[in-house]
Structures are given as structure tokens and as C-alpha cells.
Amino acid sequence: MIEFPRNAQHTIPSSQVKIIGLGGAGANMLDRVALDGMDGAEMLALNADVRTLTGSVAAERIQLGRNLTKGLGTGGDPDLGKKVTQEAEAEIRMAIKGRKIIFLCVGLGGGTGSGGAPIITRIAREEGAFVVVFATMPFAFEGQRRRDQAQTSLNELAVLSNALVVFDNNRMGELVLAKQGIHEAFQAGDRMISDSIKAVIRLVIRPGLIHVGLDELMTALRTTRSRCLFGSGVATGKDRAAKALSNALSSPLLDKGALLREAASVLVHICGGEDLTLYEIELLMQKLVKYVPAKAHVLFGAAIDESMKDALSITLISALPEEKLQQNPASPVAEEQPLMEPSVGFGFEEKAAEPEPEPVIESFSFAAPEPEPIPVLAPEPEEPTIVLEQENGPEGLVFDGWQKEEISAPELQPFAEPDHAGDAPAADFSSILEKPADPVAAAARDLREAMQQEDPMTEVWTSTPASEEPGASDVSDLLEKTRAKFKQNELLFEGGSRGRFSNTEPTLIDGDDLDIPPFLRKKKK
């Protein structure tokens, strides 16, 4: 028999990978990666502050701003951060040369990190490397200025880097209990980042039996200006497949899997010891499919790594366009849309506007005989209003929508004014639009105020009166209707509903109905 030795897993030598820690926070992350044992990969620490630089465990260190800051930090100034990085550009270029993948760990918001990261990313890209940036965003309490600095830098990085993984420090609270010490919180944050880095490295240098590699990684992350969705979980023992998956999904970056719902492509990489079975993979994928939209492109890979022993790790990587992420407290409408209308894909924003407004305007058209001014002017400001009413149904709230409506209300009048001068039907039309503007707008304002208090009930009543607005033919009629709605819902609040106990005899103690939540009763008093 002839033996044909071959490397079934096509490993990339880890010497082609470099992990860079930039600034103080970056150094911390780097240390964590090093301490967790990332054998093989080269590490490079970059910092302007010599003290933290010397404390770093990285083998390679480059001091930034030798002449500019002379060993001190940049003091939170991103411009200075930029300059010191530029000063060391040649050195950095040398260090990066020839590497296939660069991981850049950086804490945004400060000087060195925010200023330097885009430049280093650019240098690395110029050297032909695939750049994955792991960035942390500052805490909210660090102030708006730092947040802005971080945001600016992040925007640049989103364009420059191949993949951007963002950890928001504000979400760190979800990793640990509020009672635990701050060092534990930071440790947990660092650990998560280190896990992510290791998982990506594992993926890239060990593409495995079922091959996924750089190319797939790029596919999964290929959306410009996107945020990386990332989750990785490791588990051992019985039922390890399910446990690993739930660990991966519990990553704050994934929002318990909710964000995956909108992903266009998902990369799944499973890595296990030699006892990894096909059945386990099957089981795992079956579970995962529930979290991923049916039409999403699932890039699947599996690898065997003896060092995993009896553990199984799963890594989920995907990307979402940035806007999508912000819009995320998603209204269910937006969530379902991609499934129903595959051709639309990820163009969102507009698609909600598409279906409804036309017919509504049609129904309006007692102004139809004289088409010039009205179809252009009058309905236009309304369009957003109508749209968001649709969205603002009882199911969910989109706050942007409310802002839009606020804008649309004052816009109405200037638009309507020329119509006034026009002719009779147009004047009618404008008067309808104008008059409700007073009482209804006032009501709406009240509602909006109430909504800011985040009462769960208000959602229901806010949308209903507003949606009445365009359809009603008479103002008094309209007011009648809205008034009726108000009463009904207030009644609900008064404690008419007792939920599950609505059919039982009330338990009255000292005049209190025990079946009504004390939370509501106390509030009322």
C-alpha cells in the first residue's frame, strides 16, 4: 500500500498572523489573549505611554511618538494619537510586512486608540493583509466627547477594515452580575474579546475538514460599513453541542440570536476534538437554523483540533449593515419583510413606505380635479405620518418615526397655505389638515410625553387616534372618535382588567382588590 501523506486540514502557519494591541485598552486585550495561551501567533504592542508598553507581555513592542510625546501618553487627544502613529509608520510597516491576517485590538474613545487605529488599519491594508479590528466603545458615563471621538474613529474603521467587531462597554453589565467587582467585569469583557480573537484565528489557521477559510470569512463579513455579529461558545460533556450553541448565542453581540434573524450570510465553524461526531454537528445545525433566516447563506465549516480534547466549540460570524443594527429594536414588520420579499433583500427603510401610502392618498382625492399643487405638496408631508402609523401598531415602536411626525406637523402649514389661495376643494382639504393640527397635535404631544415615561399601555392608545386623522371627514367627528378611544384605554388602566382572575370573585382586603397588581395600585395612590 502506498501511503499518501497529506495535510487534510490545510493549515496556515500561524506566523502569518499578527495580533496588534494599540493603546492602553488594546494592551489589556493583548495581555488577556497572551495569558489565555495563544501559542504561535505573533503579538505586537503599540503605545505612546512607555509605562504601559513595558508592562505588556507582547514580545514585540513599538513606542509611538518618540519625539512627539517623549514616552508619555497622548492624553485623550485623537489628533495627537494620529500624529504619533504617523511618526512610527515605517516601523509599523516593517512589523506588519508579509502577514496575511492582522488582528487589531483597540479601545476607542481615548487618544492613541481612536487616532491611531485607522492609520494602522490603512497601513496593514496597504501591506496586503486582511484586517480584523476588535474595538471597544467607551462607557456612557465617560461622556459624550469620548463617545464622539470613538464614533468618528469607528466610522473610519468601518470603511477601512475588512471586518469590524465592536464591543460596547455599556453592555458589559450583561456579562457579569451587577454586584461583582469591576475587575471581574473588565476581565469578562477582555475574555470575550480574547475568545473571539482565538476563534477567528482557529478558523483561519485551521480551516479544517470542511473547509472554511479567509474567503468564507470575507463573504460573511462582506458588507461595507457593517458591524460584525460574533458569538462563540465552548462546552464539554454530555449535550455539549446544544450547550456550546447556547453559549455562542448568549454573546451580547448577538442579542440572544435575535440579530442573526436579519443576517444575509452566517459563517458557522465547529471545532472539536477527535470524538466530534457527525450527529452532533447535525444536531447543532438543526438548532441553529431556527435562528437564521431561511434564505441566509450558511457557510459551514468543521475542524478537528486535538488540543480541544473533549470540548466542542462553535463560532458564529456574520455581519449586519450598520443602519440595521441601530434600527434593531426592530418592529416585527421589518423582520418579516426579507422573508416575504426576497428581491428586496436588505434595502429596508424605504420598503416600509412602499405599500400603503398610495391608496391612502387616493382615498383623499376629493382634490383630484385639480392635480397640480396638491398631489405634490399636500400629501407629501403626510407620507411619513401614514407610514409610521402602520409601523406603530400595537406590536412595536420605532422612535425615529415619532421624530419624523413631529417634523411633519409644522411642515403642514406652509405647504397648505398656497392651497388656501387656490380653489374651493383645496381650501377644504387644507382646513381639515390644519384644524386637527391643534387638538390632535396637542393630544399627540401629550401622548408622546406619556410615552417617554415608557408606560406599556400608551403604545396602544397613541397610534389609534393618530391613524384616525387622515381618514376622518369631519373634525368634530374625528374628535368624537378619538375621545371614545381615550376613555376606553384609561378604563383599562384604572384596573378594569384583572388578567387571569377576571372571572373570579374579587378578593377585597381593606378596599384593595388583591387581583390587581399592587404595582399598579400603589402607583395610582
Binding site: A178, A258, P329, F501, T507, P518, F519, L520, K522
Partner: protein
């Protein structure tokens, strides 16, 4: 002396029907042979409101219990609860006839009759008359004064009464399934048999059994029961509150209550939100603020505990030597012990006893406390019968004697 005897406890609760088969061995130890539980339907606030539904549930529990214990269940001890039950203390004073100097059982019975002479309204019936203390010529006796010499016999009783028809309906439910009812016991009194031991009662203890639909309590001072009662609010109310305020479906609200809820009022536990992921059934993603959730739970629990506190006799809390003992399914709520401490200012324990053998999983859970207490009650009732040769069997074996 006696051979092993098998007793069956039946508890028809708001959240579950529980049937427990226990064997009382000749040496007095109890072994749990089997257990059968079924999710309850048709019970609200501890009382049956849908007869046919609950019958199906009891039947299911019975099948399970029979299967796991390999015992054919013919008769049960039934626990009942509900807001209509009232526990009160009363004293019966009997002056012995001139010729007699020694107290005889008949005199004791007479005193009990006098104590029962309280007006309880047409529809009510007595469920328990538990002797607390006796006084013979104003001198305290803790055990039965039969045989002592004296002129006046005073006996304090704790009397529990409730609406007769409702109790009858519970009994009917068991009878229709061909099970005889050996005895009907007010739930907190049964639970106390299991959750409190003699020394705890001696020092003074308050048992609070927070179940699904009701919160039952029993107060023991100086070894004798001093107060008992029921408040028609429990874990199901918490779920309902969460449901009403978050608009989550009941199943999700229940899961949220159990997994995430915290009643302690600790700020640090109310940080952030809980994501409820979508599931296969099409439930859409939602987020609930921990602050809201915990506050809803806390308010409800606070109210329940405060109501219990209000109903206790004055000065009782200060006299508790042991403290508060929490039991029942809802007592597993996170942070409840802290809240109870805030309300009562006494040390708080959970009922965790293991004087009973059998499969551990069967009785470690506090939601089985009442059923276990019933077995214990049955055992004590048996002992009572045997010792007194049956002649005092109508007196419940409580107070110092237990």
C-alpha cells in the same frame, strides 16, 4: 407493636394536584413510596371553580402516584385551603359538678363544646378544634388535665372553620374517584407538621406557605398554634401581574418569574434587561426591564407578607424565637428571604427537613411540604388513636402532645 401503615395525601392546589403515598413504619419513620403530580386546572385561589377539569387532574395524579408507589389508593387525607377559612382562638370554661373533683374526659369534651360555642355563621362548619393550653383552677397545664383534681377547667382552643359547602365539594371530588377521605385538614396546619419540629414550635415560629393561588400561614407560640389563616394571593398572582404589566403571555411570564425574578429589592439585581428570545412558536423577540419585573414581583410579595403580618395577633412577631419559615412553591423565589426579613425583622428559613426517607427528589422541593405534612398528620392521628385507645380520638393531636 403496629405494622407499617400506608397513608396517602392529596393536595388540590392552584398550580398542581399532588398525591403522595407514604409508608409509616412501625418505628415511626416515614418513607415516601411514590408521588403523583399533575398540573392543576380549574382551581383559582385554592378553591375549585371548574369541577370536571380538576377531576381529570386528580385522576391523572392518582394514576401517577399509584404507578410510582405500586399502591392501590383507596383513601386519602385531603388538605383544603381558601380565603374563607378562619382561624381563631377561644376559651371554654367548664365548672365541674359539685360532687366530682377529678377531671374526666367527658369534662374536657364539655369544655370543648363550650369553646366551640362561637358564632360562626350559618354556612360555616368547624374543621379543627385544636387544644392549646389547659388551666385547672387558673393553673396552667400543658398536657391533658384528665385525671387531675380541680374545680374549674379552662381550655384554650384554636378553632378553624370554613364554608361547609366548599369543603364538601373538595371531598366530593375525591369520593367521585372512589377514594375515601380519611380526614380533611386545613393546609397550613398540615404543612406545619412537616415544616416545624417540636422545638421550633416551642420557641415560636411563623410558617408562611406561599403556594400558587393562596398564601397560608400558621403561627406557633409556646408550642401551641396561635393563629392560622389564608390569604387569597400567591404565585399565580405574581405571574398575572407580570403578564399585565409586560403583556407577555402567561407561559413566558411564568418562566420569567421563576428564572429571572427577584423580590429582594436589591438595586444591583435590577440592572439591565432580560431578552426573551423568539421561539419556534412564533413568539417575537421582546425585552423586559429587570427594574420593572423585580418591582412588580416585589410589590406583590411585599403586600402578601404585609397582609400576613397584619393578621397576626399583636406582639406575636416579637415573641418568635425561631423565626419565619417559608414554604410552598413560590417560596423559591429569589430574594424572598431578604424581603421577608425586611417585613418581619426576624430570621428567615426555608422548610428543609429530611426526617423522611425515600427518593430525595420527591420531597426536597418546598412545593411538596403540604402533602408531606399531611402524611405526618396522618401518622400523628394514628398514634393518637392507638395511645388513647381511641377514646380521645376526636381531639386533634396538637399542642404539647405532638
Amino acid at each position: 407493636m403496629a405494622r407499617a401503615k400506608i397513608h396517602v395525601a392529596l393536595e388540590i392546589g392552584t398550580s398542581k394536584v399532588c398525591m403522595l403515598v407514604g409508608e409509616v413504619k412501625s418505628d415511626g419513620s416515614v418513607k415516601i413510596l411514590g408521588i403523583g403530580t399533575a398540573k392543576s386546572a380549574g382551581v383559582r385561589k385554592g378553591e375549585i371553580c371548574d369541577y370536571s377539569k380538576i377531576r381529570a387532574c386528580v385522576e391523572e395524579a392518582r394514576h401517577k402516584a399509584e404507578e410510582s408507589s405500586d399502591v392501590e389508593i383507596g383513601s386519602v387525607f385531603l388538605s383544603v385551603t381558601g380565603a374563607h377559612f378562619v382561624g381563631m382562638n377561644n376559651t371554654g370554661t367548664y365548672r365541674l359538678p359539685d360532687k366530682e373533683k377529678q377531671i374526666r374526659p367527658e369534662h374536657l369534651k364539655e369544655a370543648e363544646q363550650i369553646a366551640k360555642g362561637v358564632s360562626i355563621g350559618e354556612e360555616n362548619v368547624f374543621l379543627h378544634t385544636i387544644p392549646r393550653h389547659y388551666r385547672v383552677d387558673a393553673f396552667e397545664h400543658n398536657s391533658s388535665p384528665v385525671g387531675l383534681f380541680g374545680k374549674t377547667l379552662e381550655s384554650d382552643y384554636h378553632v378553624v372553620y370554613g364554608i361547609g359547602t366548599r369543603i364538601q365539594n373538595s371531598i366530593k371530588c375525591a369520593r367521585e374517584l372512589q377514594m375515601e377521605v380519611d380526614d380533611v385538614v386545613f393546609a397550613p396546619i398540615a404543612t406545619a407538621q412537616y415544616a416545624l419540629n417540636r422545638s421550633e414550635r416551642e420557641r415560636g415560629a411563623l410558617l408562611i406557605d406561599i403556594g400558587g393561588g393562596t398564601t397560608d400561614y400558621a403561627l406557633y407560640l409556646n408550642g401551641a398554634i396561635a393563629a392560622s389563616g389564608c390569604i387569597a394571593a400567591g404565585g399565580e398572582h405574581v405571574t398575572n401581574d407580570i403578564h399585565m404589566l409586560t403583556e407577555l403571555p402567561f407561559s413566558k411570564a411564568e418562566a420569567l418569574k421563576i428564572r429571572e425574578g427577584d423580590a429582594s429589592g436589591d438595586q444591583s439585581r435590577s440592572v439591565g434587561g432580560i431578552k426573551i428570545p423568539f421561539d419556534e412558536k412564533g413568539f417575537t423577540h421582546q425585552e423586559v426591564k429587570r427594574e420593572l419585573l423585580n418591582e412588580v414581583i416585589r410589590q406583590r410579595m411585599l403586600e402578601i407578607l404585609t397582609l400576613v403580618k397584619k393578621r397576626l395577633p399583636a406582639g406575636a412577631i416579637e415573641r418568635l424565637g425561631t423565626g419565619i419559615i417559608l414554604s410552598g412553591g413560590s417560596s423559591t423565589m429569589h430574594g424572598l428571604d431578604k424581603l421577608a426579613y425586611q417585613v418581619f425583622g426576624q430570621s428567615v428559613y426555608r422548610a428543609e427537613k429530611s426526617e423522611i426517607s425515600g427518593v430525595q427528589a420527591n420531597f426536597q422541593d418546598p412545593q411538596f411540604a403540604t402533602a408531606l405534612g399531611l402524611i405526618r398528620y396522618a401518622q400523628l392521628a394514628d398514634i393518637e388513636k392507638m395511645q388513647k385507645g381511641g377514646f380521645l380520638s376526636k381531639l386533634w393531636p396538637f399542642g404539647r402532645k405532638s
